[in-house]
Amino acid sequence: MKPFAIDRTNGLCAALFIFFGAFFALQSLSLEIGTALRMGPGYFPLVLAIVLILLGAIILVQAIRVEGEPIGSMAWRGMLFILPAPIFFGLTVRGLGFVPSIFLTALIAAFASGRMKPLTALVLSAGLTLFSVLVFSYALGLPFQRFGPWLPSWLAL
């Protein structure tokens, strides 16, 4: 008897697809399904979600039978700094205003690389902020408030 083994890459992949399928299936059930003639908002997504679960199941079966490639190293540091950057920008662009928000966003993202030195990051973020303000705010006239209401009012230009 062979010991029960599962390929990690495909196993995780299957789990992810089944999770998404289950999520969409459950959500669809709370919507009106309707009939094939008059499809409700839940009909098409429910069918797709079931297909996705089935495909996930096929991948799972394959994962048990065949060993695939290893996942390899993950960019943990990258994820820790890159992913929060747009979220931070979204949270602060109104409150802090465009100028401080884009400066801090660039600064956060800069630390995703182990090679970045703090001084370089500061200079880079400052230069980037200057360029962005000139191009996007002044030249292109995008309707961003440059300094937001969270800051003292004497800063507002």
């Binding site: 992949c13 919507l31 094939a36 908002p41 495909l55 096929i58 991948i59 996942i71 962005s132």
Partner: protein, 502 residues
């Protein structure tokens, strides 16, 4: 001669000094922003859209917008080739072989091939648009919901055939993309779907956010895994002009790509994306050396780039005549027209002939400016590569954040960028290709809408899809593609090819 009169009207409209100037500014700005990595044509146009509204005249404004489009598209191809970061799904195909050429030190040649292919395709398809716009509109008008549905199935299936690795995974990615695409308000009942109660997602997930996340952010994360390898490939860029041999090898793919692109571009829903994918498949099939594909095949750059540009041009037909956007960019164009007080639809050609033909003529002028400007400027774009990557990606993240936010001024789009960046990265690590997901995402809502409409029209009888000849033919094509990729010998060969690539 109607055609000559129409073209004369178009060129006289487009070649006034003011309009030429706006076209030039559009092309320049489009390339400049579009060449910034991770910012594709859609984001570029969205960012530059506000300036075009500063111009009072709708014709000039739309001509400039069209110029931005071509510039952005060329800029997108440039980043696809230079750093494997396609801003748009249509240049995702270019990235496959273009980036490999760049890694072999042939970035200059790849860029020149893309420019020359685009110009040729642009010239031919502009004339095709002028010649065939009226009769082709009649054909497109005969397309019912069933035909649209079947057409989109063809597009999705061909994206599966193109994906690397497991077919089952690619299928799952398409289905996941379709599901993500229908997040938002149901058009028939107004019921919010899968929005998790977040009002900001009622209009659906933003295409730009999903594309930037799945392609841009995920790619940055992948590059951060092994930073040491990254800087090596940058130093050896030289030889901007293609060799004689290159010209010989790109001629046929450019012609084929132009034909495929022109044909597919007029079909609403597919457009340039489908054309690029289809051209790549064709080139790989007809090539005497299919093993080169994925490893820097010239045909793999020339064909899809021409198809992409031809499709981009002819996708103006459904937009101008039916008011149907063939892609997100056309959706932006329609938005711009409405703001200018023009209702897109069959009446534009008859009521506003100067606008209609002016835009068509400016397509060709825009393409000409693109090749005149960009071949000498390629050196400048290439210089972007000498910047070390760890300096580049904070810039990319900042511009992506600004670009995505500027589309709808919606902070939730930025949260979606982070989410899809994570999903895209994890799925890539699990050997799933993002391209089918993105195509599914774009087509999801259209597919559902046409399915539901077709079922209502046929009174719930699904046989309508196979009894209507055009629809049946398209479904047969889809089935044939699917069968071919599952045929054991083809499957084995396909796996070999993709294994060698990675």
């Amino acid at each position: 001669m109607d055609l000559l009169n129409n073209l004369a009207l178009g060129f006289s409209t487009a070649s006034t000094p003011a309009n030429l100037g706006f076209c030039l500014i559009g092309v320049l700005l489009g390339t400049l922003i579009g060449v910034l990595p991770g910012i594709g044509a859609t984001a570029t146009i969205a960012m530059l859209l506000p300036i075009t509204f500063q111009i009072g005249d709708p014709v000039s404004s739309l001509i400039m917008l069209a110029g931005i489009y071509y510039g952005a598209q060329y800029g997108g191809s440039t980043t696809a080739i230079l750093i494997n970061m396609p801003g748009e799904s249509s240049s995702a195909v270019t990235a496959i072989d273009g980036y490999q050429m760049a890694r072999q030190g042939r970035a200059g040649a790849a860029l020149a091939i893309a420019a020359i292919g685009s110009f040729f395709a642009g010239t031919v398809s502009t004339f095709l648009v002028a010649v065939f716009a009226p009769p082709l509109t009649a054909i497109a008008l005969r397309f019912g919901a069933a035909e649209y549905f079947s057409l989109m199935i063809v597009g999705l299936v061909s994206s599966i055939a193109l994906a690397h690795g497991s077919i089952v995974k690619a299928l799952a990615m398409v289905v996941l993309g379709l599901l993500l695409g229908i997040v938002g308000t149901d058009i028939y009942t107004g019921a919010p779907r899968f929005t998790l109660g977040i009002r900001e997602y009622a209009d659906g997930l933003n295409f730009v956010a999903v594309a930037v996340g799945v392609f841009g952010v995920a790619e940055i994360l992948r590059n951060l895994e092994n930073e040491h390898e990254r800087s090596v490939l940058i130093s050896k860029v030289s030889g901007l002009m293609p060799t004689r041999n290159d010209f010989m090898r790109m001629a046929a793919p450019i012609v084929r790509g132009t034909i495929i692109g022109s044909a597919l571009g007029i079909l609403p829903g597919g457009g340039a994306v489908l054309a690029a994918f289809a051209s790549y498949t064709v080139e790989k099939r007809v090539s005497k050396t299919p093993q080169e594909f994925g490893k820097g095949a010239i045909a793999g750059v020339a064909g899809p780039e021409s198809a992409n540009n031809a499709g981009a041009q002819t996708s103006f037909i459904p937009m101008l005549t039916l008011g149907i956007p063939a892609n997100p960019v056309m959706a932006l164009m329609i938005g711009a027209m409405i703001i200018q007080g023009i209702v897109p639809g069959p009446n534009v050609a008859t009521e506003q002939p100067a606008l209609f033909w002016g835009i068509i003529a400016s397509m060709w002028i825009g393409n000409l400016m693109l090749i005149i400007l960009n071949l000498p400027l390629i050196g400048l774009w290439v210089k972007l590569l000498t910047i070390p990557y760890y300096v580049l990606f904070p810039i990319i993240m900042a511009f992506c954040s600004i670009g995505v936010y500027s589309v709808n001024t919606n902070a939730f789009d930025l949260y979606a960028v982070a989410f899809f960046g994570l999903i895209g990265y994890v799925l890539t690590k699990l050997r799933c290709e993002p391209a089918p997901l993105l195509l599914g995402f774009v087509l999801g809502p259209l597919l559902e809408e046409n399915l539901r409409r077709a079922m209502i029209l046929s009174r719930g009888d699904p046989s309508a899809f196979v009894t209507r000849p055009i629809s049946a033919g398209l479904l047969l094509v889809a089935l044939a593609v699917l069968v071919i990729v599952f045929v054991p010998s083809v499957k084995k060969k396909r796996e070999e090819v993709f294994v060698e690539e990675s």
